[in-house]
């Protein structure tokens, strides 16, 4: 590019949009983590036992499921879709992990088999979205219903069996003083951030999500990143289902229900655009941890359930408003000017 620049005088102003965006994304991610830490510290006023390392440990454990699910959801949203099948995929992962465990061979056969099946179902979602032009909302809702019903039929209502040992170790074990799930979350987040932000695959996801047509013209085989996003989302949900099974040592048929909307909320609170093309996984992790912290603190308030939910909703809206990029940009401009 520099070689064809006609002269220094005609040089256009440097394109700083991307830098600006990165900085505001970093700021909003930092803000959301700051908000979480403030919330944890402030929760001491609610109960003196809160704000301790123990509470952080509880929060990370409870948030770990949401973090894994929200990574997949975030990728699908990034490419301009929405995955409503994750609740069923969580259930499927959990149910198959317990019923196949022992009956189908070693857990090192069962776990990959379940994840491959999940990936297949995710890919089917993508087929419907890409080639049959079914809106993602409808496609994933339908496949979710099918999967949930299949799980109901397969178990005749009562999922049996126990968790694979690997997931018991993951959810209950510890390495020295640190719980295993905390280590897992750190590694998962680092790998996922790297995949989304530092690889060619990640770049293609952003390109496809920002403008599918432009990405196609630029030579991206657009179906590949889209299909990969749906498949990864299904795999993440199935994996989270197995984590839940390890946590509770058993599966139930409605175990995924409480993660669908929070997974979308984490992504949006984390600063991603619900329309796709924009966002970072670090923000999503912040969103997931913020939501879980909020749940923990609020449940310690001695209030009626109704008011607790009102407060939870109000804080989420407040956080979204506070973290809006344009607001941050305006504030920065003002402080700069």
């Amino acid at each position: 590019m520099t070689s064809v620049r006609p002269s220094a005088a005609l040089q256009p102003p440097a394109d700083t949009r991307r830098i600006g965006r990165i900085r505001s994304e970093t700021i909003s991610t930092a803000a959301i983590f700051a908000l979480t830490i403030i919330l944890i510290l402030a929760s001491r006023f609610v109960s003196p036992a809160l704000g301790s390392w123990d509470q952080v440990d509880t929060i990370i454990t409870l948030a770990s499921f949401l973090i894994v699910v929200a990574f997949g959801q975030g990728l699908v949203i990034l490419v301009g879709g929405l995955d409503l099948s994750i609740a069923s995929m969580i259930t499927l992962g959990g149910v198959l992990a317990t019923t196949w465990n022992g009956s189908l061979g070693s857990e090192w056969v069962v776990i990959p088999a379940v994840l491959i099946l999940c990936a297949g179902i995710g890919a089917l979602n993508a087929v419907g979205v890409i080639w049959l032009n079914i809106p993602p909302f409808i496609m994933t809702m339908a496949s979710g219903i099918v999967v949930a019903s299949a799980a109901l039929g397969y178990t005749s209502g009562t999922p049996r069996g126990a968790s694979p040992d690997a997931f018991l170790a993951l959810m209950k074990g510890s390495v020295g003083p640190v719980s295993a799930v905390l280590i897992f979350v750190v590694i998962f987040v680092l790998l996922a951030c790297a995949l989304q932000s530092a690889t060619a695959f990640g770049r293609r996801l952003y390109a496809v999500g920002a403008n599918r047509e432009a990405a196609r013209i630029a030579g991206v085989a657009t179906w590949r990143p889209i299909m990969a996003a749906y498949a990864i989302s299904a795999v993440c949900a199935g994996f989270a289902g197995m984590m839940l099974v390890g946590y509770a040592n058993g599966a139930t048929l409605r175990m995924g229900d409480s993660y669908l909307l929070p997974s979308v909320a984490s992504v949006v609170i984390g600063g991603s655009s619900i329309l796709g093309g924009r966002g970072s996984f670090a923000g999503t992790v912040g969103g997931a941890i913020l939501l879980t912290t909020l749940g923990t603190v609020i449940s310690a308030l001695g209030m009626d359930q109704g008011w607790r939910t009102v407060i939870e909703g109000a804080i989420i809206v407040g956080a979204l408003l506070l973290l809006r990029e344009d607001l941050i940009a305006r504030l920065r401009n003002r402080s700069a000017g």
């Binding site: 123990d54 454990t61 409870l62 009562t158 049996r160 139930t252 923990t296 603190v297 310690a300």
Partner: protein
């Protein structure tokens, strides 16, 4: 030859026709006798152990002789919206159902449709949850005092003082409210009892575990837990935090009963009682309905009370076989999932059933339907639960299973 053959054939055909004509009259008469009752099993939702066990029991009974020849059972699952169940009832009435056995999702929303069905001669039997429409039969343990009895058991175990959690069911649900009102009636008598956290856990093990974990983060010094269904999750949440357990009361999951009887868990502080909602109610209601349909029983629509299961730690007995025999009430570890609700059997009401019935809806080979005891227990009135404009008895929260051992 050919003529002979023809003749023979004609005779045969004539004889055959005559015979079949005779058969036809007899068989049409017996077909009338053996006309199958068209019965619908209407679930609001499925997917937790309790709901599927209750449905499986009904399915197993419908395949047990002689019901296998008398009943045509269809299952309809309509989801958690009252509207969907109303629509399901409507189509059952249109299909000329003889009876509907159902877990109703709302105690009031279904009333109009139920009334319409009653007028067309459909028998409505509600199990576990209830409706306030007087033409329906409600068969339930709800009025048997789960809340107040378990609360008193917890107060006794805590010597009348301590910080407790309330692990509740589904917000806004009449059953959850009845249980909690009964429990609070007792807890309020004891100023030493302090409810430090109250959360809705939707009668689900996993939600209970997570909600209890959250409450424990704020109140690690909790002294006791009063729980509705999902109680095994509360034990898991305590175990996640270390070895310390606390006195707690809960419903009938196999995991909870095993823990209650486990000497190790007792040493770590667990004591309490397992009581609450028995899926066996569905089977009892179905057999009552069948006895009415087959004219073996004459019973007007009424509220019938199913006995409250009550199993303190020292009464937990492991079953050797596949059903409740010799007074056993819990299955060994590994035989059923920990969330399995054990109260699927009743030697008195449902001797036809075994574990396979509850898990897969299959009949027990060699068993036939046994008649129910003649007496039914009338349930007390509870406004909003089993009647509309009615007064509750003065002794609504009277203790029936346990005596207070501590003075308020």
């Amino acid at each position: 030859m050919t003529t002979f053959r023809k003749l023979l054939m004609t005779t045969c055909v004539a004889a055959g026709a005559l015979a079949s004509a005779c058969m036809a009259t007899t068989s049409s008469a017996s077909a009338d006798d053996a006309k199958k009752f068209k019965i619908f099993l209407s679930l609001s939702y499925s997917g937790n152990s309790w709901q599927s066990e209750a449905a499986n029991i009904v399915k197993a009974l419908a395949q047990t002789p002689p019901y296998d020849k008398e009943v045509e059972l269809k299952e309809v699952i309509s989801g958690t919206d009252p509207q969907a169940q109303i629509a399901a009832y409507e189509s059952m009435i249109d299909a000329k159902a003889d009876g509907v056995i159902s877990f109703p999702i709302s105690s009031t929303a279904l009333n109009r449709t139920v009334k319409k069905g009653c007028e067309k001669g459909v028998l409505f039997f509600m199990y576990d949850a209830t409706v306030t429409e007087p033409c329906a039969y409600n068969v339930s343990y709800i009025t048997a005092g789960f809340g107040e009895n378990t609360a008193q058991a917890l107060v006794n175990a805590l010597n009348g003082k301590g910080k407790i959690f309330l692990s509740r069911g589904v917000p806004g649900n009449s059953v959850d409210k009845r249980h909690t009102d009964g429990a609070m009636h007792i807890f309020k008598e004891y100023p030493g009892i302090q409810v430090v956290a109250e959360y809705y856990a939707f009668w689900d093990d996993r939600t209970t575990q997570q909600e209890t974990a959250k409450a424990l983060a704020a109140h690690p010094d909790v002294d006791g837990i009063w729980a509705q269904a999902g109680e095994f999750g509360a034990i898991q949440a305590l175990r996640d935090k270390g070895t310390r357990l606390v006195p707690m009361t809960g419903e009938n999951s196999n995991g909870f009963r095993l823990a209650l009887a486990d000497p190790e868990a007792q040493k770590n502080g667990l004591k309490g009682v397992s009581a609450g909602s028995p899926p066996a109610t569905a089977g009892y209601a179905f057999k009552l309905m069948m006895e009415i349909l087959t004219k073996k029983r004459d019973l007007k629509a009424m509220n019938i009370q199913y006995p409250l299961p009550w199993v303190p730690a020292d009464k937990v007995t492991l079953c050797k076989g596949d059903t409740f025999e010799d007074g056993c009430n819990t299955f060994p570890d590994g035989k059923v999932p920990s969330s399995f609700v054990t109260e699927v059997f009743s030697p008195e009401f449902l001797p036809e059933l075994s574990l396979k019935s509850a898990l897969d809806g299959a009949p027990t080979p060699g068993k036939t339907i046994q008649p129910l005891p003649a007496e039914v227990v009338k349930a007390p009135n509870e406004p909003g639960i089993n009647c509309q404009k009615c007064d509750p008895p003065a002794d609504l929260y009277k203790l029936t299973k346990i005596e207070p051992t501590v003075k308020p």
